[in-house]
Assembly symmetry: C2
Homo-oligomer: 348 residues x 2
DNA sequence: CTGAAAGCGCTTACAG
DNA sequence: CTGAAAGCGCTTACAG
């Protein structure tokens, strides 16, 4: 004999009462509850998850899908871990555990998610790295599994999402450049189908338009979203006849590859070319000059994300109509030395 | 009606036969199996995990515990994701899913693991960031849950572990320094109770001893295992009267904080001070001079890790005595420019 | 080769 | 306040 049955036998009461005591139901004698709780600790009893889940139709677990294919997904970036840390604080109060679901690079994200969904492995899920067109959103909507997207997509509507303010940052960065007299402003965006690249580009366009600067396709550098992508951006700039005097990075770690290659070619970041990154992150701390970028509390973003997911779960469970959360997270500029200078007086 | 019952009804056969067909049991008519498989796809049926787990006593899921408290755990390092990628390939063949279990910084790793273990959430688990004394090993041994440690510990015995060759790398690095004439060789190791720091220090000691160099406590720099720790190491070196002419880093990302601070003070890494890092990683690619460090295939390490875990699971399930895997993973030096020079001719 | 039935470990109406 | 019983969705001996 094992499990709750063993515990009940030990206490010489029924398993129903043990269960009720453990689960904090009100209709249990306080004396009895105390005995049960103590015995549970003593015997190290913890309810078997599968039994509970099967009976309750809930796993008390939510998932966070990670695409290890995405370079920035956990590789060389503290973004996800910080957000997850924030989520955990909230979920703990609801006694919900968070597990990370890493989709392998050789597996299709859609198939992977479908498997997780169908198995009813989690009560809710966060998806990230949303694509321009993202079939996962339809899948989740169809399957009726509560979810929140960290990132927008053109696909679907009426779902909950949180996203960083890619538009606002890109536009503001262009304003900053323009205010210092820059007219040839390059932008580095991902060369994949991540939706955030589109939004960032939109913000860049809006910024240029507001200052009467025509967009030049040559200055839109589509590169890998990584340090290496930054290096590639540098190479392309070095190959240009008329070089930009400023560059805006959609992903701040690009600066790590960008800086040294420009420096080697005698183009000093912050001096000969102004640079602005997206997010102010610890990984760029040791760059010289310090990178101007935009900050936000990843912890708070995680808190909001968990809150939105819990609300999705509760609302769906109650069969109520959902009022989806659509939140664009604001970011504040952290001024540093990488964009202080205007364009060099002699055009290169 | 739902689940397997619905599918059985649809096909007008019993749920037992459906189950057997789906699970590839031999005693099913091939014609029947085909019909079942097709209907399952058509209706999008996937067995409910909780039901299976409860009946089978297995979850077909293994966990990889992550401590987000550890700076290097996923924050700014591709180590874990690469290993996990390697594990997934192996596990997929056994139809086992890998989930990541992130222990929050504000939760005790022992308590967290205990909860996961007791709930029987996974069939096996990998723990990492092993400490000098690590109670998790006793916990897992006691609970009889199959596990493999990524990293050694002084605690317990007879368990399976895989570890990188911290001893061999440290000793070899000292040999390399000594061969170029260095006698004042510093070492940066973590200031926490991670077991790998001890082993690395042992290798360093062995290297010094072999070359008749006395260990100087001043040159053992205990710092945070991060870029910031590298910066701290630089600060301590700059404060020394008699500076080391070489430094060995237990964690390669320390170089990212170390380089710029030394450079600012006019001490050129690779020129005035030789530097060797631990692992050759993509994150250090843009350092100048390139960092000499040691390489290994993280993918293969993941493959081995998954293999060891599967073997633990199978052996325990069969009630057989376990022959634990204890593997020290060899690493090969990648010579670069950061340790080419001997000590400056005039001692500083 | 297939069906009927037991039972994995729980929670929860229901009766008392 | 407590106990007895049903049943969550599966898999698997067992019988035929």
């Amino acid at each position: 004999m094992k499990g709750i049955r063993q515990l009940a036998k030990h206490l010489d009461i029924s398993i129903g009462t043990v269960s009720r005591a453990l689960n904090g139901k009100p209709d249990v004698n306080e004396e009895t509850r105390k005995r049960v709780l103590e015995a549970a600790v003593e015997l190290g009893y913890v309810p078997n998850q599968s039994g509970r889940s099967l009976r309750q139709g809930a796993t008390h677990t939510v998932g966070f899908m990670l695409e290890s294919g995405t370079a920035s997904a956990l590789g060389g970036d503290d973004f996800f871990m910080s957000v997850i840390e924030g989520m955990q604080g909230v979920l703990k109060h609801s006694h919900i555990d968070l597990v990370l679901l890493p989709c392998g690079a050789d597996e299709d994200p859609y198939d992977y998610l479908q498997r997780m969904v169908a198995r009813r492995f989690v009560d809710g899920v966060v998806i990230s790295a949303t694509k321009r067109e993202d079939p996962r959103i339809d899948l989740l909507t169809r399957s009726n599994l509560p979810f929140v997207a960290l990132g927008r997509s053109r696909t679907g509507s009426g779902y909950s999402w949180l996203d960083m303010d890619f538009f606002g940052v890109a536009r503001d960065a262009v304003y900053r450049f323009a205010a210092r007299g820059h007219r040839r402003i390059a932008i580095a965006i991902p060369d994949n189908d991540a939706n955030l690249g589109d939004i960032f580009l939109d913000g860049y366009r809006a910024g240029l338009r507001a200052h009467g600067i025509a967009l030049e396709e040559e200055l839109v550098l589509r590169v890998e979203s990584s340090e290496e992508g930054g290096a590639e951006a540098a190479r392309r700039i070095l190959a240009m006849n008329q070089k930009p005097t400023a560059i805006l990075l959609n992903y701040e770690l690009m600066a790590i590859g960008l800086y040294p290659l420009l420096n080697e070619a005698g183009i000093r970041p912050g001096g000969d070319i102004a640079v602005i990154g997206f997010r102010k992150s610890a990984q760029t701390r040791f760059l010289h000059p310090q990178l101007t970028a935009y900050t936000l509390s990843l912890h708070d973003l995680g808190v909001a994300l968990a809150g939105a997911l819990l609300s999705e779960i509760r609302v769906k469970r109650a069969g109520m109509p959902v009022a989806p959360a659509n939140i664009i997270w604001p970011m504040q500029v952290v001024e540093s030395d990488s964009d202080l200078n205007g364009p060099p007086t002699r055009a290169s």
